[in-house]
Symmetry: C2
Subunit: 339 residues, 2 copies
Amino acid sequence: MNIKDVANCAGVSISTVSRVINNTAKVSEDARKRVEAVLKETGYRPNSLARELQQNKTYTIGVLICVTELSMSSLSQSINAITDVLKANNYNIMLANSRYHADEELSIFNTFKEKRVDGILYFAAGFAKKHYAMLKNYKIPIVMIGQKSNYIDMPYVIHDDFYAAKTATEYLIQMGHQDIGFIGLPDYDEAAGLERKKGYKLAHEMNNIPLNPSRMTEGDFSIESGYEAMKILLKNPDDRPTAVFATTDFMAIGAISCANEMGLKVPDDISVMGFDDVHVAAFYQPPLTTIHTDTHAVGTKAAELLLSLMDKENPNKITKYVASYSLMERGSVRPLSSI
Amino acid sequence: MNIKDVANCAGVSISTVSRVINNTAKVSEDARKRVEAVLKETGYRPNSLARELQQNKTYTIGVLICVTELSMSSLSQSINAITDVLKANNYNIMLANSRYHADEELSIFNTFKEKRVDGILYFAAGFAKKHYAMLKNYKIPIVMIGQKSNYIDMPYVIHDDFYAAKTATEYLIQMGHQDIGFIGLPDYDEAAGLERKKGYKLAHEMNNIPLNPSRMTEGDFSIESGYEAMKILLKNPDDRPTAVFATTDFMAIGAISCANEMGLKVPDDISVMGFDDVHVAAFYQPPLTTIHTDTHAVGTKAAELLLSLMDKENPNKITKYVASYSLMERGSVRPLSSI
DNA sequence: AGTTGTGCTGAAAAGCTTTTCATGCAAATA
DNA sequence: TATTTGCATGAAAAGCTTTTCAGCACAACT
């Protein structure tokens, strides 16, 4: 069933059918009625492949995320926000997950190009620089999310990772902690993980606390990696940090889980601070003290930014946005003095 | 840049270029080399819209999920499994989330039809029957996931919700509990939530324990709803259940959170049993005793089933699959006698 | 009555592939 | 030498829309 069949059934030309469907020009009352009747009866839906081919526009935005598991990510709210904005502007979403494989990201970019998406929202987790050669003369508008991209010179929307991490660390210091363990992320250029580490370091510097490299461990976003990192930090019973800053809520959960198994109570025996304010964070036991990031705003801004980028009439010049954050004092951190 | 440009650059016809790209027929060494050089130099990618239009096949599978938030769902492993199977068979995925709105589901089905997906994986949460009229003469192959579909007569892959829920309840009974609260889900026909409720009921029947309607509450998958339901169950300090079966891990987490706030320790003062064995479940405090569902198998089977459905040469006849489950004894349930 | 204008309509082109079919040429056979 | 075979190639059709452009009929003018 195609537009030609509909035209035949209604006794009009395909042009007229197209006009009725898209409401793009005037059609006589009489003709319109007949076409609409056929449309309803047959349940005909235009082939969007043909339309998109002819218009050279797919009304589809590629969203590339990079998480090992959908449920383990802090970006579901961002995705909801993106959906809202794009849907309101009549765009569809094509969501693809690289699952943290750089080569898979590349292949997704290629798919996006072949599928002719109109724009891309790129939740980057560190591989962007690797794709530099490819991205350099990639014609489709891209907004990068969660990672700066000065190197590649691409519009971006990020969380204030650096200052937020500094704030988090300073909060622990204010609470009297001087020996603060760190569970970080791989050191990719410009990535959020690296920014958070820098914030942790600066807080130490500004408070004249020497950095202790043996206190700095690394995870990979997962609960398990937080667990393993904590194991290292707690290895020596005589030499343990009094607080730990995990740069991800899920890693914080892993860390607390590990502490519990070693017979340490959080926050009584050791404080743990998270980052992200994931949905479960408030309901964990103890409720996680963490950095709340405005993921909704990030999603909204990114989508809006992309939309304005794609609008050739009045191109936007504001191509960077840094979302605000706040510290959520809950139950996983307590002052040192009270131990 | 299109295939014509490539042909011109290489000094051959477009047919030859197509043949080189798709490796679909023999091309002289000489011509092939020239084409490949141009391909590499220009970074040309064929317009898949045109290809798909002409082949009447999109190599795309629509995956329709129905969750309020990506991170709050138990299906991320299923999705990973689906991705693996489909990718291995050269299919792309178009993931869409109805966010629990029946009308949105309908609109997504329409989009899938317009975009000409080759098949659909439908994570149903109860609305399927509403869409009966539409689905009845919907031409695209669909596999339903997580919900039976005898009414609509559609192939499906499900968890063994009924027996798993019965097993869970019987476990609590074996532990000496006779007064078991229930946090269920809306009663949609054939949906998983209803099956779990039936399992809970049967376990009571078979053990001659009368059902107490005031012990049966309802949530909506979310942590918050579990919290609220628990509030109701614990309202009266003199009349509380000794155990609670939450039909979702996240609702169990909400319930435990509520219990804690009311000064009740889990499992010392009250036992809580979950369902799903979500990733965080094992790392929660206390670690959740729950039903482990084989989400990976469900995803894999569903994708394979769809693939075989789409294969017109040798159509598969096995159109139903029920995944296995197991009970994970962890820390949120304890025998009644020891209280 | 002749001209201009208006309002619908349909034919045809364009968008980019894949694929079929026919052709030309060289090699192999009779 | 004449004929057949085979291979590589290009022209053209098909897949389904949207959109432009020209045309037609009729009404409203001068």
